[in-house]
Amino acid sequence: MEFAELIKTPRVDGVVLRRPFLPTVEGTLCLTGHHLILSSRQDNTEELWLLHANIDAIEKRFVGSLGTIIVKCKDLRVIQLDIPGMEECLNIASSIEVLSTLDSVSLMYPLFYRPMFQVIEDGWKSFLPEDAFKDLESMTEEWRLSDVNKDYSVCSSYPPLVAVPKDVDDDTLRKAAAFRHGGRFPVLSYYHKKNGMVMMRSGQPLTGTNGRRCKEDEKLINATLRAGKRGYIIDTRTVSVAQQAKARGGGFESEANYPQWRRIHKAIERSSILQESLIKLVEACNDQSHSMDRWLSKLEASNWQTHVKEILTTACLAAQCIDREGASVLVHGTEGTDSTLQVTSLAQIILDPACRTIQGFQALVEREWLQAGHPFQQRCSQSAYSNSKPRCEAPVFLLFLDCVWQILRQFPCSFQFSQHFLVLLFEHTYASQFGTFMGNSASERSVRELHPESHTLCLVMDIHCLQKVFIHLDLFHILSCYSLNSTWIKYILFLTHQHTIPHNDITIPHNDITIPHNDITIPHNDITIPHNDITIPHNDITIPHNDITIPHNDITIPHHDITVPHNDITVPHNDITIPHNDITIPHNDITIPHNDITNQIKSNQILFVTYTWLADVNASVAKCLCF
């Protein structure tokens, strides 16, 4: 199939683009196989590049011959296009509808996308399980890397290599897998260096109504306990939901068969309920009545924050069990691919400062979400605006990001990244030029052999982050220099003007809204806008080069590399990649955020940190959650 067949009208002039909080743009609308492009063809105005895959729903309206298409995106933006000419408008609308609902994986953009920057590192190999295991090996010898799943035969949603207790052989693993939902036998998720306790995750045990048991499964998880110690099983479902699961062959670990484990039930909702909640939340955010009562009651009715709170509480509980009680923990829900991953990944953010760096967080997402088999494609194929009936869609990952944001709000000095990083991830899960979030599991990604075809996000994120580091560097100077010279101010104004009002303003789930405005502290953000990957950055980089020479020669700095961009439009990507080399610093040297928390942690304060969170979550999360 050729894209050209689907595009009835490839180009319309005189189209007006309206976006909330942004000036309107008039220009030419073009449709390509993957993008909707609107350009005023003037130098200083931003172009709109919208992936068709990002379109959730469209609405058409006509006033005379002027047609209006309201495009509702999966990243929750809403934009309006006024198209002169009824026929053009209808053609455009029907083309968008077809193009945005193409199912065929082989037509997806990541397979077509060729980065314009120099790829200096294969992002697909950045966070391999082998590497993660090397770290583990340096800390303990009780675990081994098993390739029992190397052809994905034991569990289709696990990666080929998983970490399991050393004393357990592959046969036992196979038998345990048969006893767990989806073959997801318990595997290592996190090793707590401080006391050697571990967190594991799995699918639910298939006990069924007659209480089946599986000696191998018991052996497997008991192998992680120290002599005389008890562990905790955190079931993310309520008791009654878990009971009901028995009728469908699922269930939970009975006390009789797992005497060394204490089971705790929490109440994280199923995915369909979460999707409804998101739809209600977005509706509340887009409510035009501007009434406080309506907003609050709709917010409450959406239950979104209730879910956030429940997930956070559960993650804190897991962290507390590991750190305070000194016990190992096994987390599972039903499939072990949604709420389970939310809990395990958040608990790691709470316990491990490394996860709060940019690199560490990417590694965490790679490990606990991508390799752990969260079905991104199913969960993110539609978002809150879609009119079609949801099937498997659910904002599971978005909720996780929201929880991280809540922690970030409470501990703003403990994270290397800002909320924009989270928003970037959110956007890429729904539509992206990178193959990172394609497919539902490692096996799907490898079967389709995406690797050579598409590129992964992490590398690009590095670049984005680097830019941010630059910008923060400058911001720092803006704030701390006393005799500010005007170039600085111009620069910062430039940045702010350029990037104010992140389009995700409308994203409200993170209610960025309060901040962005015209506020200097948050300029960069929009550099992250992924679609035109190269076109934007050049602006941002142009300026600093002089000024960045600044502070300390320790950073042997990039200014040489950055000098070029200036008047170039296409070049910059080259130059950007280079700083990447030099400036590995952000990750190595800028241990600060790291330090920051490590300090806390060393001085017994991890207890305190976890504790605080627990106290908060238990006592008053409601008040702490921001909206």
Binding site: F411, H472, T514, S620, A622, K623
Partner: protein
């Protein structure tokens, strides 16, 4: 904590027994809102002290009788002006300092800063002895064309004589904000002088041919505003009871708003800010929400919604936004009133001033604004904030709402305000504390009659002295946010519960990370480092040590290899800053 409780004439003091820390907790008697004594338990008798700034102190006293005594003493203390802290501490100790403290702020200078008096607005001596209006300041600014008969006539037609006078003058558009109380128009009454007064106000803005009259009360069905409805009901009731009570009914009926048929060229605008009774109840509810021990998300949001507090804050801010836009964007003068013109009017005018004028976003500017729109124009501080046990129906958190509006704005415009949250909290505290004489009494006249300037100190210089701790590190006087008018987003999701105010119990317990404090500290440290660096640095020709200029920086990086040791801390330091900035937003 175990310790000893002392009751002094002015404070309740708790001193911890632990000899190492000896931490002290001081509670001013005038800050005590209520003292509860739950049933005695075997371990002793509890006392729960609620303060007026929403803090809660719990005491466990071993002897029940002691507890009762303490409760009784606390209830009895601070019931007379003379017992208030500001009057009971010996004020004559340093007379010069005191006099100086009162001259710290100069309202006239602020008017001059706005460009008043000028050829449009002049000062009138009409109220110099508080004869026209005893709740107004002695010096008033009125349109140049307003003659004394017009002034007096207009004041007679306005509730409590509060005639329309200038409160803010916008130099760029020549539009003004005026304030007054409701006209005594009833059903048909009119006053030529008052009509002339509004006409004069319109004429003193040469560019416009009409003015806005903003009634900050909710408009109830059709053209009736709150008070008219109440009066109507009242009349009906009266007629039923007895036709002979007509006189009373008439008296009661003499209130309302300007009739557009009588006043030429006015546009009436109603903005629904609720009355003080609604606000009082609403605040009580949000305090309760803040004190909830373990609310579920639903409880919390429901509580927030049913308190209606944020809705009211939004209404006040919306009123300010309307006025500011009329003045700055349309260039139209605005006359603002509610019923008496000292509560909602003060809120609306002062919020508008903050939005319009960057100066009022500085510490001194905000002090001046409060001094002008609240203190001098007769906001009834003693009644509203219950300085002495008075009529509970008069109590209402009017200025709380203004301060909260400023806080909400500072959340939206973090770089626009010179002060931080602590400054607002401190202001709030002193409105209630009676520690200084500024907020005592209900009008300028009352304060003069009490001789407060001779007997008490002023708060402002004290705050100014401690300004370092109230500074907002993100404030930059030359930033876009600090220039011109603020255009806040007032969609409901932009309003947050002010946890620093209503959720303090929690805030005090675990130390939170506050990037602003860190940033402040870091700035100070950088400054020191920069100075040190400048000293070390060879001064490059032409590029004299100006840290931050391009030359300065390049010089520094070139000379750096020789000074590696001294640069090391800076480098570490910059790292800290980097991470900080990353996280700040």
């Amino acid at each position: 904590m175990v310790g000893t409780l002392y009751l002094s004439a002015t404070h309740t003091i708790f001193v911890e027994n632990n000899p190492e820390t000896r931490r002290e907790t001081w509670v001013l008697h005038s800050m005590v809102a209520s003292v509860e004594r739950p049933p005695t338990t075997p371990s002793g008798s509890h006392l729960v002290v609620h303060t007026k700034n929403f803090q809660v102190v719990q005491l466990l006293i071993p002897q029940e009788r002691d507890a009762m005594d303490v409760q009784a003493s606390l209830a009895r203390l601070s019931q007379k002006y003379s017992e208030l802290y500001c009057l009971s501490i010996n004020p004559n100790a340093n007379k010069e300092e005191r006099e100086e403290s009162w001259s710290f702020l100069d309202l006239q200078a602020d008017y001059r800063r706005m460009g008043v008096p000028n050829n449009l607005w002049v000062s009138t001596p009409a109220n110099s002895e508080y004869r026209v209006c005893d709740t107004y300041p002695s010096e008033l600014f009125v349109p140049k064309s307003a003659t004394p008969p017009v002034i007096v006539g207009s004041s007679k037609f306005r509730s409590r004589g509060r005639l329309p006078v200038l409160t803010y003058f916008h130099q760029d558009t020549l539009a003004a904000i005026c304030r007054c109380s409701q006209p005594l128009s009833g059903f048909s009454a009119r006053s030529q002088e008052d009509e002339q007064m509004l006409e004069a106000i319109m004429k003193s803005n040469p560019g416009s041919d009409y003015i806005y009259v903003v009634d900050t009360r909710p408009k109830v069905r059709g053209h009736w505003c709150e008070s008219t409805i109440r009066i109507l009901l009242y009349c009906v009731l009266m007629m039923i009871i007895s036709l002979q009570l007509n006189a009373m009914a008439n008296r009661a009926a003499g209130k309302g708003y300007e009739n557009e048929d009588h006043y030429a060229n006015i546009k009436l605008q109603f903005i629904g800010i609720e009355n003080i009774h609604v606000m009082r109840n609403s605040q009580q509810k949000i305090i309760d929400v803040g004190e909830l021990k373990t609310p579920s998300m639903g409880d919390f949001l429901w509580g927030l919604e049913s308190s209606g507090w944020l809705k009211h804050i939004k209404a006040v801010l919306d009123a300010g936004v309307f006025i500011a836009k009329a003045v700055a964007e349309e260039g139209i003068s605005v006359v603002v009133h509610c019923s008496d013109g000292w509560d909602r009017t003060a809120q609306a005018c002062s919020v508008a001033s903050v939005l319009l004028e960057p100066y009022y976003r500085t510490m001194k500017g905000l002090m001046l604004l409060i001094e002008r729109d609240w203190v001098s124009f007769g906001h009834k501080f003693s009644h509203r904030y219950n300085h002495l046990e008075g009529d509970p129906k008069e109590v209402s958190p009017v200025i709380d709402q203004f301060l909260e509006c400023v806080w909400q704005l500072s959340e939206q415009f973090p770089c626009a305000f010179e002060f931080n949250e602590r400054f607002l909290v401190q202001l709030h505290r002193h409105v209630y504390s009676c520690q200084y004489g500024n907020f005592l009494g209900n009008s300028q006249k009352e304060r003069r009659d009490m001789g407060l300037r001779e007997r008490t100190h002023s708060l402002w210089p004290q705050l100014w002295k401690d300004r370092a701790q109230y500074a907002n590190p993100l404030y930059r006087a030359d930033h876009t946010q600090t220039q011109g008018m603020l255009r806040p987003n007032t969609t409901p999701y932009c309003f947050k519960m002010w946890k620093g105010m209503y959720n303090r119990v929690e805030k005090s317990s675990p130390p939170r990370q506050t990037p602003t404090d860190l940033l402040t500290a870091v700035r100070e440290e950088t400054q020191q480092l920069e100075e040190e660096l400048t000293n070390h640095q060879e001064v490059a020709p032409g590029g004299t040590a100006q840290p931050g200029t391009k030359q300065g920086i390049q010089t520094r990086s070139r000379s750096a290899p020789n000074e590696r040791c001294s640069l090391r801390p800076i480098y570490n330091f910059i790292n800290v800053l980097l991470s900080l900035l990353i996280t700040i937003n």
